[in-house]
C-alpha cells in the first residue's frame, strides 16, 4: 500500500495511518502490532507533513511483520542522533503553537517499532524504514 503525503497539509494528516490501520484490521494482525504500527505510521506521516515538501508512506504487510517506509523530499536531517533525542525539534514556532512538532516523533517511532533505520541527505530528503514484528499469540 502506498500513500502520497503532502507537506503542510495538516487537514489530511493521519489519513494514511487510518487506512493502514484498517488494512491491518482486515488482515487480522495482533492488536498490539496494530497499535504500534498505527503510532509509527502516524508519526512518520506527520514528520513529512511538518518538515518536507512532499513524500510517500509505504506499508508492506507480511504475516510476521509490518514494514513501514517513509520517503520524503525535504531539507533532510543534519544531525540524526540529536533528532532522535526526546524533545529535540526543528519545527518552527508556528507549528509548535498548533501543538505539533514537540520533538517526540522519532523517539516515539523508535519506541514502537522493533527495528528502525533512518538515512538522510541534506537538501534532498529523508528515508525512514521501520519494522514492527507481529507477535502472534494465536488469538
Amino acid at each position: 500500500m502506498e500513500f502520497s503525503v503532502c507537506g503542510m497539509d495538516f487537514n489530511r494528516a493521519g489519513e494514511a495511518a487510518a487506512q493502514i490501520k484498517k488494512a491491518l484490521q482486515l488482515v487480522g494482525m495482533h492488536m498490539d502490532t496494530m497499535r504500534r504500527a498505527v503510532i509509527v505510521a502516524y508519526e512518520a506521516e506527520l514528520n513529512i507533513v511538518i518538515h518536507a515538501r512532499q513524500g510517500r508512506l509505504v506499508a508492506h504487510i507480511h504475516p510476521d511483520r509490518v514494514e513501514l517506509e517513509a520517503i520524503d523530499e525535504g531539507p533532510g536531517i543534519p544531525d540524526i542522533p540529536r533528532a532522535m533525542q526526546e524533545g529535540y525539534s526543528t519545527a518552527p514556532a508556528h507549528i509548535r503553537k498548533m501543538g505539533f512538532g514537540a520533538g517526540m516523533g522519532l523517539p516515539n517511532i523508535k519506541k514502537s517499532a522493533s527495528q528502525m533505520r533512518l538515512t538522510s541527505e541534506i537538501n534532498v530528503g529523508t528515508r525512514l524504514t521501520a519494522t514492527i514484528i507481529n507477535q502472534t499469540s494465536g488469538d
Binding site: K22, Q25, L26, V27, G28, D32, V38, I61
Partner: protein, 460 residues
Amino acid sequence: MSRYFHSVMLDQDKCKGCTNCIKHCPTEAIRVREGRAVIIEERCIDCGECIRICPNRAKLAITDPLERLADYQYTIALPAPSLYAQFGPEVLPGSIIGALLSMGFDEVYEVAVGAVAVSNALHRYIESQSGHRPVISSACPAVVRLMQVRFPGLLEHIAPVETPMEISARLAREKARQEHDLPDNAIGVFFITPCPAKVTAIKQPFGERSYVDGAFSMSAIYGAVLRHLQDVADAPPDSLSPALGVGWGKTGGENQAIKKHALLAVDGIHNVINVLEEIERGGLTDIHYIEAQACTGGCIGGPLTPQNPFVARVRMERLLKVLAAGERPLPAFPDDPEYYRLAGPIPPRPTLKLSSDINRAIGMLEEVERITAELPGLDCGSCGSPNCRALAEDIVRGYAESSYCVFKLREKLQLLAREIVDLAHKQPPAMGKPEKHSKDSAIQNKNADQQVGRKEGTDL
C-alpha cells in the same frame, strides 16, 4: 438467542432500498440487497444512526411493550436523565415521576441519583489509576460497542465502572427488596430509554446479568406521560433530582459531575471516531477522562427521544439551574468500589477480518486493493455497499460481484455491445456478395470473411 442481540431492526415493508442508511453507518454494517437494507449482525452497534437517517422510517428499535409490567408483582421505572428535558419549562421532575406512578409503576428510581453514585466512583477510580490514559467513559453503550468493532486496542482505556443505569437498577432493586420484603424475581425494573443501544446493553450485558428487566422507548411512552401529567398537577410527588446527576443527560454533564479531573467531552459518533483515532495514534495522554457520547448533544439527542435535541438542550440547561438552587440530600451510597465494578470484561469483536488465516487474509487484502483501484471511486452506493472500497471487500469476501457496480456493468455492456455490432457486420460466406464499386475492397471483404470463417471454425 442469536450470537448478537440487536435492538435495531428493519421494517421490510417500509424499506425502499434507497441506500441512505448504508452511507451513515459508522461500522459499515448495512448493505442493500434485492431492494432492501440488510444489517450485518456482527458489525451493528445499535447506535441508531440509521433510524435517524431513514427517510421512510423503515429502521426501528425493538423495545418492550408496556404490557410487560403485568409480568411482575412490583414494578420500578428508571427514567433516564434525558427524559426530564423532553417537556416544557413548567414540567419539573416531580410531575414526571408522578405521571409515571399514575401510569402504573409502583415506584420510580431516578437514574440521575445513581449517576451521582457513579460519578463518585469514577472520581475515585481516576484518582487511583496510573495505567492507560485517557480513561474513556463506559456510559454510552454505542461507543463501547463501536470500540469493540473498530478500536479493539483501546478497550483497556474504558473505565471499569458500571453505568448509571445499572447502578440505579441495582440500588432500586435492593431498596424494594428491603422495604417490601420481595423476592428478586417479583421485582421488574424498567429503563425509559433514549436509544436502542441501552436496550442492547440490557438484553446482552457483558456480565452475567443486567439488573434491568426491560426498556420502554421514550418516544413510545411520551404521549402517555403527557396525559398523566394532569393526574398529578395539584400535588406532584417529591423528586431528588440532583443537578449533577441530571446533567449526565447532556454532553459535558459527566465531566461536570466527576469534577476536577475530567477534561474532554465529545459527542456525535463521527466526532467520537476522530477522537478515538487520535488516542490510537498515541495522543491525548494529557487528558484524564473522556466523556464520549454517540448522539449529538448527548442522550438528550438520542434516536428515541421525542423532542428536538436543540430545544431539549435549552430545557435541560434551564432545569439544571432550577435544580441546583433546591438541592435535597441524597441517600447514602455503598462505599465499596467493587459494588461499582463493571460486571464483565469487554471483549473485542474482530468482525472485520477477511480470513482467520493471516496468509490468506493478506492475499485477500491485495485483491481488495486491486479491485478498489479498478472501481470508479465515486462511492455512490448504488451497488448496495457503502463505498467502492467496501464493495471491493464484499467482492473478495464473496458477498458481491463486480457487476453490482453500475459503472462496471456499463463498461461490460459497452464491450458486449461493440462485440454484438462487430458480429452483426459479419455475414456467413454463403450470403456475402462482393460489392460492385471497387474491385480491391471486394477482394478485401472476401478475405476478411474467410478469415472470420476460419477463426470461428477453430473456436468451435
